[in-house]
């Protein structure tokens, strides 16, 4: 199982990714694809257990806007680390749709992008297999200056640039 990172630290993961092909829905919180959500929406709602949805990089925030209140988690995929669409999706979910649940990154992501993930509203990262944990842990402390507004905890653009609060180091 992939290691889950929050605030630069490994944390436990209570969620299960459910394949579209998997028949029965297991106990506990599950993350389903948007397709599956649309197919099994009624059944998933009546389960009365937290459900999350995962989006491919070309599935943007408006696709889930109407159901957003039903999701305790939104997982955004990076098919390749150079595909930066999810940075905008996360930000749209936070700033436009007011989403307050967990936003999780998964797929091909680099530690060099961790700061960007946090600043666009991601909560957690599923580390890719073989990821260097040391680099990920270090990533949030590497650069603590930001020149523009971000999502989490950032004050308005009262100063164009300011020191980032990066939390415990």
């Amino acid at each position: 199982m992939a290691l889950l990172l929050k605030d630069g630290q490994p944390v436990g993961d209570s969620w299960t990714h459910l394949d579209d092909a998997a028949g029965a829905v297991p106990e506990g919180p599950v993350i389903v694809s948007l397709d599956r959500w649309r197919r099994d929406r009624a059944a998933l709602i009546t389960r009365n257990t937290p459900v999350g949805v995962r989006l491919k990089s070309n599935q943007l925030a408006p696709e889930i806007a109407a159901d957003l209140a039903r999701f305790a988690l939104v997982a955004l995929e990076f098919p390749r680390f150079r595909d930066g669409r999810a940075f905008s999706t996360a930000r749209e979910l936070r700033e436009h749709h007011g989403y307050t649940g967990e936003i999780r990154a998964f797929g091909h992501i680099l530690p060099d992008q961790y700061q960007f993930l946090v600043r666009t509203g991601f909560t957690t990262v599923e580390l890719p297999d073989g990821a260097g944990l040391a680099s990920w842990r270090h990533a949030l402390a590497e650069i603590d200056v930001a020149y523009q507004a971000g999502v989490a905890g950032d004050a308005p653009l009262s100063l164009l640039r300011r020191k980032l609060a990066t939390g415990p180091k």
Binding site: F81, R82, F87, R119, T120, A146, Q148
Partner: protein
């Protein structure tokens, strides 16, 4: 080193402690990234965008390091540091580019962390000079000096520099993203051929607002920018740009590198639909968070305060006398001076296009000479133009004869700014991994063909722009005469266009006729110029002549009447 007292220095954005801290952290981050690449933690595929976002390219023969010169402004100390780097780590010279940057073409990977540290010592870097991110913002090389300026674009260029630096949302865009800004009626920043072009304007009560163009660009599918907004108030500038970039980041194509620029999105969805999307997005994000505080603008503006100009008469007797006494000097003053807003001053273009030279190249010795001259004559500040020349923006007219003599000692007195010898050229096949054909040697040939400066002055303003491949780094589409090198079954051939311009009347050039071989290009250019001289009306520019008589006479001149 000469350190000017701040009273004698031109307004330049000086780094503060936070900027320096950021840069030091970034240098250290890159050191670790290099180490992670060497240890195998990062694959080459993963490392490549990281090094590109720090300006490091792997070219045909060596690594190339592209150094950011934000909106083309340098202090003399920075130019001296570049000279030292050129001598220590390269072959004693550097190459100024059409993006107002500097490239070193013979860099060793092992030296790169040291070079970045040397650059950081003078507040410089290579950040975002490459990669699919918001690139170094460019502007008018005469900003803050030009007589026709309405709004000083450096203030907003600096704000955009800060805003775009390591932007968390827009560092992995579909493709690179170039922003240019002008503050004059006459556009010297070529805003029509940028992903976003901004014209700063002045409204009622002196309020500043911006006209925004989107989707311009050259390359294999050249487009001129379309107007996205007539008037974006100053406070909304960053919010608006956030909205444009967010729409592009989400909807720009990622399936084909050649269709990934925003110009293709504009072309495919249409400017009206794109405007709707941007306006919807802007309506959502509008609010205090993205509002550009006037206090910030004022803080930045103070950095660009006018230097301590002397009160001088508009006409300098010393200049007039020198002009009358020395025809060579008089000739240089006709081509290489631009009117200054301050009486008794002029902006000087130092041509990096000597006869037979490599466009945009400067030796370390020349850089040091220009730095010293900037200290003596222009408040310690130097500009880089997108025409690949240098500019001393604030020179007393009384000092021009002495400056010209000094420039002559260093081979920097070519009297051809804006003339046929002032050729824009990409590096081409001599350096570039993308090129299909040579461009530098061809530029040198053409330059020798027009070595006679009196002839150049008789021809008048005429821009030759040359690219060694379809990516169009030499802006060939927007040259009076454009030259594009293509590979035809292993043979270098060149397509010639005429009638392009990147000014406020932006237009793309039209093809004259079939492509020609390397050896014929200079002849073709000569024939085109000859026809212009034969047919032009009184005071008519090359573009006006092309517009009046059409391409056909030029084609017949080049290929014969049967063509």
């Amino acid at each position: 080193m000469t350190h000017l007292s701040s009273a004698a220095a031109a307004g330049i954005y000086h780094y503060d402690e936070i900027d320096r801290r950021f840069l030091a952290e970034r240098v250290e981050q890159f050191r670790r990234q290099v180490a992670r690449r060497l240890s195998g933690e990062l694959t080459e595929d993963e490392f490549k965008p990281i090094r590109l976002m720090n300006g490091l390219y792997l070219q045909l023969h060596a690594y190339m390091l592209r150094i950011a010169i934000p909106y083309g402004v340098l202090s003399s100390d920075q130019l001296r540091a570049l000279a030292v780097i050129g001598r220590r780590y390269d072959r004693g010279y550097g190459h100024f580019t059409t993006r107002q940057n500097l490239q070193f073409n013979w860099i060793k990977l092992v030296d790169v962390p040291e070079i970045l540290a040397d650059l950081a010592a003078v507040d410089m870097h290579g950040i975002q000079t490459s990669g699919n991110c918001i690139r170094n913002v460019t502007t008018d090389q005469f900003a803050g000096a030009a007589a026709d300026e309405i709004v000083d674009p450096r203030v907003y260029a600096e704000i955009l520099r800060q805003w775009s630096t390591l932007h968390p949302e827009f560092s992995f865009l579909p493709r690179k993203f170039k922003i240019a800004i002008t503050g004059s009626g006459h556009d010297r920043a070529a805003i029509a051929v940028h992903d976003i072009g901004i014209r700063a304007r002045s409204g009622p009560g002196g309020a500043v607002g911006f006209e925004i163009f989107v989707g311009g660009g050259l390359g294999r599918s050249p487009f001129l920018g379309r107007r996205l907004a007539d008037w974006v108030p100053e406070a909304d500038l960053l919010g608006w740009l956030e909205a444009v970039l967010r729409v592009y980041n989400q909807y720009g194509r990622r399936d084909n590198i050649y269709k990934a620029r925003i110009k293709i999105l504009v072309h495919e969805v249409g400017i009206d639909r794109l405007r709707e999307q941007v306006e919807e997005e802007f309506a959502r994000i509008r609010g205090p968070k993205y509002r550009l505080d006037p206090e910030i603008v004022e803080t930045i503006r103070r950095h660009f305060a006018p230097p301590a100009f002397a009160a001088l008469p508009a006409v300098s007797p010393a200049l007039e006398q020198a002009r009358a006494g020395d025809p060579a000097f008089a000739r240089w003053t006709r081509s290489n001076l631009t009117p200054h807003r301050q009486p008794g001053y002029a902006a000087v273009t130092i041509s990096l296009k000597p006869t037979g030279g490599i466009p945009g190249d400067a030796t370390s010795e020349q850089m040091e000479a220009v730095a010293a001259l900037a200290d003596r004559y222009s408040f310690g500040e130097i500009r880089v133009s997108h025409e690949q020349n240098l500019v001393l923006a604030h020179v007393r007219q009384d000092d021009l004869p002495a400056l010209w003599r000094e420039l002559g000692r260093h081979g920097l007195d070519a009297a051809n700014a804006g003339l046929v010898g002032d050729i824009i050229s990409c590096p081409g096949l001599d350096y570039c991994a993308l090129a299909n054909a040579r461009s530098i040697p061809l530029a040198q040939d053409i330059s020798r063909r027009f070595a006679d400066l009196d002839l150049q002055h008789r021809i008048g303003p005429l821009k030759i722009k040359m690219s060694g491949c379809i990516n169009a780094c030499g802006h060939h589409h927007v040259g009076d005469i454009g030259i594009l090198g293509v590979d035809k079954h292993g043979v270098e051939t060149y397509q010639i266009t005429i009638g392009g311009t990147a000014t406020e009347e932006a237009a793309l050039g039209q093809v004259v006729g079939p492509a020609v071989g390397y050896d014929q290009v200079a002849d073709v250019v000569e024939a085109l110029v000859a026809l212009y001289l034969e047919r032009r009306g009184e005071g008519e520019s090359f573009l006006q002549t092309v517009a009046r008589i059409g391409v056909r006479p030029f084609k017949e001149k080049v290929y014969g009447a049967a063509a």
